[in-house]
C-alpha cells in the first residue's frame, strides 16, 4: 500500500515538493512515515541541508571579523540570508532583522530590552488565552520583576479570540500587547490586523508571535504594522537554533542591548563602550552562521513553492481532514475556529492521547500528544491533553486517510 495518493495540479506539484524532503521517504516501524507533527517542527528540504553542508565544507569561518577569503564568504552568505528574511516578511531594512536562537529568545529579548525599561508597577501586558508558554512565561517574569500585571483576553468555545473582550481589556495602563499570529494547540488564525489597529489607536505597541504562522500564511510586517514579529527557523523548513526578531527600527534604536559581548560593540574601553549599529547591537557573540544560511535557504524554498499555493493546498487538506474526523463517533475536535490552519487537535472518548500516540506511531504516523506547551488552552477546554495532527505543505490526502485509519484502529483496541 502506498501512503501517497498524489494529486498533481499545474499550480502545486505535491509529488515534486515531497521529493525535496529526504526525511519523508523512510519507513518507521516498517510503515511509510506519515509526518503530522509539523507544528512541533518541520522537515528540511534538500536545498537547506546542502546549503548548510556547503558552508561547513567550504566557507566555515567567523563573520564580520577577518580579512581572509573564507570570512568574507561567510559574512556575505550570512548577510545575504538577512536580506532574504527582510524580503520574505517585507521589512523596510536589514537593520530591523535580528538573528536570535528562536521565537522564545526573540520574545525574551523584547521583554528584557523593550518592556522592562518602560514598564512600571501597575502597568499591564495584554495577551490572549491561547498563547504558547513562551508568550506567557516571559511576561510573568516581567510582572514579578516590575510589579506589572498580566492580563488575558478570553477565547470562545471554537477557540477564537473574543475581540470585544480584547478591546475592552485594552486600557490606559496597557504597556504592551503580545499575541500569537496562529495558535499552536488549536490552529486558530488570530485577527492580528484588528488587534494591532485597536492597540495602536491607544498608542500600545504590539508583539506578534509568528512561530506557527511563518510556514503557513503570508507574513508582511509592514502591512500588519506590528512593532515586533518573532519566529523560528525550524518551523519553516529551516534548522533549529536560529530564529528572527523583526523590530520596528525606531523602537530598536531606543532599546538597550540584550546581551553584551563581541560583535555588538563599536569600541570598548574600560571607561566606556559604544554599541554597534542595528542590527548588530542585538547580536552579541558569534552567531549561528550555518543556521542563518539554512534559514535563508528555507525561506527561498518557500518563496519558490509560493506560500499562497502551499496555503491553498493545506486548506484543502484541512477541510478534508476536518470532515473525515468530525464524522468519527467518539471523536471531538478541539479548536474549530472559522479561520484556522492545518491543525487537527482532538480527544477520543475513553482513550488517553498518550495511548493514541503510541498506536499511531506503530503505524508510522507521527503526531504530538500532550498539552502542547499550552496548558491554559487545555484548561479552557477542560481536557488534560489532546492528540494533535499538524499539516505542512508536503502532506497528502492519503496521509490524512492513514490518520483516520489509525484512529479507527485505536478505537477498535480501546473502545468495544
Amino acid at each position: 500500500m502506498s501512503a501517497l495518493r498524489v494529486v498533481k495540479s499545474s499550480e502545486f506539484d505535491l509529488l515534486e515538493v515531497r521529493r525535496d524532503f529526504p526525511a519523508l521517504h523512510q519507513k518507521v516501524h516498517g510503515k511509510p512515515l506519515v509526518y503530522l507533527d509539523n507544528a512541533a517542527t518541520t522537515q528540511k528540504p534538500k536545498a537547506v541541508i546542502e546549503a548548510m553542508d556547503r558552508f561547513y565544507k567550504c566557507d566555515s569561518s567567523n563573520v564580520h571579523r577577518a580579512v581572509h577569503a573564507l570570512s568574507d564568504r561567510a559574512t556575505k552568505a550570512f548577510e545575504a540570508a538577512r536580506t532574504t528574511v527582510k524580503q520574505f516578511i517585507n521589512a523596510r531594512s536589514e537593520r530591523e532583522i535580528i538573528f536570535v536562537r528562536g521565537t522564545t529568545e526573540a520574545i525574551n529579548l523584547v521583554m528584557n530590552s523593550f518592556a522592562r525599561p518602560r514598564v512600571k508597577a501597575g502597568d499591564e501586558i495584554l495577551i490572549s488565552a491561547l498563547e504558547h508558554h513562551s508568550n506567557i512565561v516571559p511576561w510573568q517574569l516581567l510582572a514579578e520583576q516590575t510589579g506589572a500585571r498580566l492580563v488575558v483576553a478570553p477565547i470562545d468555545d471554537r477557540g477564537e479570540l473574543i475581540l470585544e473582550e480584547f478591546e475592552r481589556l485594552l486600557g490606559p495602563t496597557t504597556a504592551l500587547v503580545a499575541v500569537a499570529h496562529i495558535s499552536n494547540a488549536l490552529g486558530t488564525i488570530m485577527p492580528v490586523h484588528e488587534i494591532i489597529r485597536m492597540a495602536h489607536a491607544r498608542g500600545v505597541p504590539v508583539l506578534v508571535d509568528g512561530a506557527q504562522a511563518i510556514a503557513h500564511v503570508r507574513v508582511d510586517v509592514r502591512e500588519l504594522d506590528c512593532d515586533f514579529y518573532a519566529f523560528s527557523g525550524h518551523k519553516v523548513f529551516g534548522p533549529t537554533g536560529i530564529g528572527i526578531l523583526y523590530g520596528r527600527e525606531s523602537l530598536l534604536e531606543q532599546m538597550p542591548p540584550y546581551q553584551g559581548g563581541g560583535d555588538m560593540i563599536r569600541s570598548v574601553t574600560f571607561e566606556k563602550t559604544i554599541y554597534n549599529e542595528l542590527p548588530y547591537k542585538f547580536e552579541a557573540g558569534t552567531p549561528h552562521i550555518a543556521g542563518a544560511i539554512g534559514l535563508g535557504t528555507a525561506l527561498e524554498y518557500v518563496s519558490r513553492v509560493r506560500i499562497d499555493r502551499a496555503a491553498a493546498h493545506e486548506r484543502e487538506l484541512l477541510a478534508y481532514g476536518t470532515e473525515l474526523l468530525s464524522a468519527m463517533p467518539g471523536l471531538r475536535l478541539i479548536g474549530t475556529a472559522r479561520e484556522k490552519v492545518g491543525i487537527l487537535s482532538f480527544v477520543l472518548d475513553g482513550v488517553h492521547p498518550h495511548d493514541v500516540g503510541t498506536v499511531l506511531d506503530r503505524d508510522g504516523i507521527a503526531v504530538r500528544t500532550g498539552h502542547h506547551c499550552a496548558q491554559p488552552v487545555m484548561d479552557r477546554f477542560a481536557v488534560p491533553a489532546t492528540t494533535r495532527a499538524s499539516l505542512a505543505l508536503y502532506n497528502s490526502k492519503a496521509e490524512v486517510d492513514a490518520l483516520a485509519h489509525g484512529i479507527r484502529r485505536v478505537q477498535k483496541l480501546f473502545v468495544t
Binding site: 516501524h29 516498517g30 510503515k31 498518550h354 495511548d355 503510541t358 503505524d363 500528544t369 500532550g370
Partner: protein
C-alpha cells in the same frame, strides 16, 4: 503484522480491562501514608493512599488520571502489593522496573508480568513506573510531589 503483535503485546487484555475498570480506585480516609505523583511530559497525575501497620500494607488505593498504561499499572500494583510487607513491595518495584526496561523477565511478579510488552516501547516505561515511584514516596512519606522528570 509485526506492529499489530507489538501493540497487542503492550495493550494486553488484562491491561485494557484494568484501565477501564481500575481496582482500588478510591481514597482511603485516614490513610497513614499518601503521596502524589506527576509526569509533566503527559500530565498524568496519581495519588497513592496507604494504610501501613507494623510494616505491612493493610490497604492501598489510588486516584488520578492518565493513559491506559498508567491506570492499569496503578490498578495492578495495588492488587499485587496489598497485604505485602514494605520490604516486599520495594523488592517488587525493583523487579517490575527491570521487567519494564527489558533487563528482567518478570519472574515472581504474577499478573504484573503482563507489562513485559513495555520493553518494545521505551517512551512508555515512565507511564507504568510513575505509580511505583509514588508508592515509594508514600512509604517514605517524602514531602511534596514526586515527578518522573
Amino acid at each position: 503484522m509485526m506492529n499489530d503483535i507489538e501493540i497487542a503485546d503492550l495493550y494486553q487484555e488484562l491491561i485494557i480491562d484494568h484501565s477501564r475498570r481500575p481496582r482500588n480506585f478510591r481514597r482511603i480516609e485516614g490513610a497513614t501514608h499518601q503521596a502524589e505523583g506527576f509526569n509533566p511530559l503527559c500530565g498524568d497525575k496519581v495519588r497513592v493512599y496507604l494504610d501501613l501497620e507494623d510494616g505491612v500494607l493493610r490497604d492501598i488505593s489510588f486516584e488520578g488520571e492518565g493513559c491506559a498504561i498508567s491506570k492499569a499499572s496503578a490498578s495492578l500494583m495495588t492488587e499485587a502489593i496489598k497485604g505485602k510487607s514494605k520490604v516486599e513491595a520495594e523488592q517488587m518495584f525493583s523487579r517490575f522496573r527491570d521487567l519494564a526496561t527489558g533487563s528482567g523477565h518478570g519472574s515472581d511478579l504474577g499478573k504484573l508480568a503482563v507489562f513485559s510488552g513495555l520493553r518494545g516501547f521505551p517512551t512508555r516505561v515512565k507511564c507504568a513506573t510513575l505509580v511505583w515511584h509514588t508508592l515509594r514516596a508514600a512509604l517514605e512519606q517524602a514531602p511534596g510531589i514526586v515527578s518522573t522528570e
